[in-house]
């Protein structure tokens, strides 16, 4: 190998190493996440040791450390989903603001609409049963036949009675 080629290969190798070092340095220098970025995720997580307190507003020392952890994870490039997953693995699903839709937890989401629909159905059926057409069907038959301003008429009637 001639000398010039050897120098060229050394330069190329050095260039690759420098480029690699540059890339690593750039990756490690992820800008420090802002408080708002930390809060956005912390707000979706509940304090694992307090009752019903979102992590972004919890004043305990433990929560302050967890917020620092979120900041560190963000600076290391973790995604929101990964951070939430980490907290679930560490402290259980209670850290989520809603139970994940699996197993018994389905009941949280399914039961209320079922009960409400059943209630609505029962009410509708009962009302249909209660409703009897009035003897004078013309009074309710159509809007056209209803009094022009029933409320005002009623009020005036009452007032006349009172006089």
């Amino acid at each position: 190998m001639n000398r010039n080629l050897r120098i060229a290969l050394y330069v190329l190798a050095l260039g690759i190493v420098l480029a690699g070092l540059w890339a690593v340095t750039v990756h490690a220098q992820n800008p420090t996440p802002t408080d708002d970025e930390v809060n956005r995720i912390a707000h979706q997580l509940y304090c694992p040791v307090c009752e019903n307190t979102p992590l972004d507003v919890c004043p305990t020392e433990a929560c302050r450390q967890w917020r620092d952890l979120i900041r560190q994870q963000l600076s290391e490039g973790w995604t929101e989903a990964q951070i939430k997953q980490y907290f679930v693995q560490q402290y259980g699903v209670r850290v989520l603001s809603e139970p994940p839709a699996s197993g018994l937890n389905w009941l949280v989401y399914v039961l209320p609409p079922l009960i409400i629909l059943a209630g609505a159905f029962l009410l509708f059926r009962a009302m249909r049963g209660w409703i009897k057409p009035p003897a004078d069907s013309s009074a309710v038959g159509s809007g056209e036949e209803a009094p022009k301003d029933e409320y005002v008429e009623r009020l005036e009637e009452e007032l006349k009675k009172r006089k």
Binding site: T34, D35, D36, N39, Y46, E51, N52, P54, D56, V57, P59, R64, R67, G92, V93, R94, V95, L96, S97, E98, P99, G103, L104, N105, L107, V108, L111, P112, I115, I116, G119, A120, L123, M127, W130, I131, K132, P133, P134, A139, V140, S142, G143, E144, A146, P147, D149, E150, Y151, V152, R154, L155, E156, L159, K160
Partner: protein
């Protein structure tokens, strides 16, 4: 000695309450008015007795008797006297005495009424109210005694007991107490629990009459007419309690909001929901003789939810089923709720055939049908709230897994229901009893609906493109316009008929039908509150940053500049860290100064984050000095919220109380008035003679 006296009085009160229950039942069964009267007098004795015990407890609290464990837990030497008094309901044992005291006051008031026309209700009203009071007194006597003291045994152990655990034990006197939880030292929190408790106990009165009606078989609407004002008063107190609690959360909890769907909040909201449904539903029974069975169900539910709410917040069951299992009062509460609920339902089933409606419904759009729909919606919100609170307990029992059911669940599930309720609020006042059609409602609705649409379009071009918020604004505008239109129409009609000017006609309308127009004022206030709720939920923005002195943080139309910070000890021994920030608008104009601070309570070793607020009708600038970094002259961390329109919530709540007072203002009882008039006429000739 004082502790023994206080405890002794509570024991006597408990026995008197049980006697009252027993005598009332015996007197009714044996048809002995004298025994029922004895039960009534026993009932009347309860309030003075519990007042005496409460007075003893307050004296112990004020005079630093830290040998009494309750006094030790909720007070300290530094606390001002007024806080020592309010500490009475700041701890569990004291709050149970407070509950009993209020219950006995209301029960006494109701037993002092004239009973001539409803003599058959009296024994059963005594039974229910005295039994409820006896239950709470029983908890105090056997489980949560606020008069228990610390004793030092011969072995040096400290034991809590009412009486000496051993002959050699001596009373132990701690030098100072723990102090009241700092969260409970805010004026809002001082008044909030009494208001809630007042709401809770006053709902016991309509329930007592309902049970009396079921037992006696007097299934007309008399019990509803007697208790109408009690129900409104209960609703007033409960509403006031909820609003105060929200304001307290906004000012003290330091998270920029007023409602977090916390189980404790929901525990107070649930009886309010059934109570509100009941308030609407009883009108159908009064006017149309319908829904007798449903009204019974609603008042039984309301009572059960009152006790259930107290159970949830007092037994530790919300934090963990294990805490519940360890709680001494949890299982007792559970049994009492079960007993009263099953007994009530059994009575209801027994009387079910007698409670059939007297007439039929005639139209799906009649006012009674729309009120029923309103009830369905309130009950739907209740189902969501109840399930959301109970599910974590069920999950823990069946799977051992602790879960959180938080705001996203409630917001998503209840928002459409509240929107539907608002729509009903818009059209129900336009419907009439018995018969209404699309045509009759449409003829009076279209003008308001169109005007609301115009307002919404203007908002679209000037304020927001958020579709959900626009739907909310449309409904708010619709209800406001319909209600104002109703006022105008009625005033105009009256003015035409009586030749009064419109203002006088409007004023006289209130006097003529206070319940109706008070109700409309409540509807208006609800919409103003809805503006605040929608504003903060849809448009709240926030940011956080650490500032060096003279540096600024900008959010929306505001910018704050960190001016200075000071640390000092307040008169009540709080260690205060107070920042001074200048507020500027987006053009750099100076708007004022705010003082967010952190209060540290050494006795409780707890921080409180108190915001600096700049309220306007447009929004609320809410600045917190947060403790993410130690605050110093070099730098402090601030969190800023801009909460658009939120102050309409507080304005609306003030109008809300005016509305309830109008609706609950006593009318002269027509029968009583005519009886008086007859008596006057009868007296006149004799005077002439």
């Amino acid at each position: 000695m004082l502790a023994e006296i206080g405890y002794g009085i509570i024991v006597v009160a408990f026995i008197v309450a049980l006697y009252s229950v027993g005598a009332a039942i015996y007197g009714e069964r044996t048809k002995s008015p004298a025994v029922v009267e004895s039960a009534r007098r026993a009932m009347l004795l309860l309030w003075p007795l519990i007042s005496l015990a409460a007075g003893t407890l307050i004296y112990l609290l004020i005079t630093n008797h830290f040998e009494v464990s309750f006094v030790y837990e909720v007070t300290s030497r530094e606390m001002p006297t007024y806080l020592k008094i309010t500490a009475w309901w700041g701890g569990q044992a004291g709050s149970l005495v407070f509950w009993s005291w209020l219950m006995s006051a209301f029960a006494s008031l109701v037993t002092l009424r004239k009973w001539e026309r409803d003599r058959e209700f009296l024994p059963w009203v005594i039974v229910v109210t005295a039994l409820t009071t006896a239950f709470f007194l029983g908890l105090v006597v056997f489980y949560e005694n606020p008069f228990a003291r610390y004793w030092q045994t011969a072995g040096g152990q400290i034991v809590t007991s009412m009486f000496a655990p051993a002959a050699t034990a001596t009373v132990y006197f701690p030098s100072d107490g723990n102090g009241l939880n700092p969260l409970l030292r805010h004026p809002g929190m001082i008044i909030h629990p009494p208001m809630l408790y007042l709401g809770f106990v006053s709902f016991v009165i309509p329930y007592a009459f309902a049970i009396a009606a079921l037992i006696t078989g007097r299934t007309d609407d008399r019990w509803i007419r007697i208790t109408r004002r009690w129900t409104l008063i209960a609703w007033l107190f409960l509403s006031f309690g909820l609003v105060l609690g929200s304001r307290w959360a906004y000012d003290v909890l330091g998270w920029g909001g007023f409602w977090g769907w916390d189980p404790v909040e929901i525990a107070a909201l649930m009886p309010w929901l059934t109570g509100t449904a009941f308030l609407h539903s009883v009108m159908i029974q009064e006017k149309r003789g319908l829904l007798k069975q449903w009204n019974m169900i609603l008042i039984i539910l309301t009572y059960s939810l009152v006790i259930f709410g107290t159970f949830l917040t007092r037994t530790g069951v919300l934090s963990s089923v294990h805490a519940f299992a360890q709680s001494s009062i949890g299982p007792v509460f559970f049994v009492f709720i079960g007993f009263t609920f099953i007994t009530s339902i059994a009575l209801l089933i027994y009387r079910w055939p007698d409670l059939r409606g007297e007439t039929e419904m005639k139209s799906l759009l009649s006012r009674e049908a729309l009120f029923l729909l309103n009830n369905l919606l309130f009950m739907s919100v209740l189902v969501i709230c109840f399930w959301g609170v109970v599910f974590p307990i069920i999950s823990q029992i069946f799977t051992g897994q602790t879960v959180t059911v938080g705001p996203p669940f409630y917001d998503r599930a209840t928002a459409p229901l509240f929107a539907a309720l608002m729509f009903l609020m818009g059209i129900a006042p336009l419907s009439t009893w018995k018969r209404s059609t699309v045509g009759t409602i449409g003829r009076v609705l279209w003008k308001s609906a169109l005007a609301a649409l115009v307002i919404t379009v203007i908002l679209f071009f000037t304020y927001t493109h958020n579709i959900i918020a626009l739907v909310g604004f449309y409904l708010i505008a619709l209800v406001l316009l319909v209600t104002l239109y109703e006022f105008w129409r009625a005033a105009w009609a009256r003015s035409k008929a009586t030749k009064e000017n419109v203002v006088a006609a409007l004023w006289n309308l209130f006097g003529r039908d206070r319940r109706r127009y008070g109700g409309y004022v409540i509807h208006i206030s609800m919409m103003l509150m809805a503006i605040g709720i929608l504003g903060i939920n849809a448009f709240q923005i926030q940011t956080q940053g650490t500032l060096a002195l003279n540096n600024s943080l900008t959010l929306g139309n505001y910018s704050i500049k960190y001016e200075s910070i000071a640390q000092f000890t307040a008169a009540d021994n709080r260690q205060v860290t107070r920042a001074v920030v200048n507020v500027y608008d987006k053009n750099g104009n100076y708007l004022g100064q705010l003082y967010p601070r952190i209060d540290y309570y050494p006795d409780a070793q707890q921080n409180m984050t108190i915001p600096g607020e700049r309220p306007t009708l447009q929004d609320d600038l809410y600045v917190l000095l947060v403790d993410w970094q130690p605050a110093s002259a070099n730098g402090a961390t601030f969190k800023i919220f801009v909460n658009p329109l939120v102050n309409w919530l507080w304005i609306g709540s003030l109008i809300f109380f005016v509305g309830i007072i109008i609706a609950a203002w006593p009318d002269r009882d027509p029968e009583y008035a005519s009886a008086r008039s007859r008596a006057r006429h009868a007296e006149q000739p004799s005077a002439a003679d």
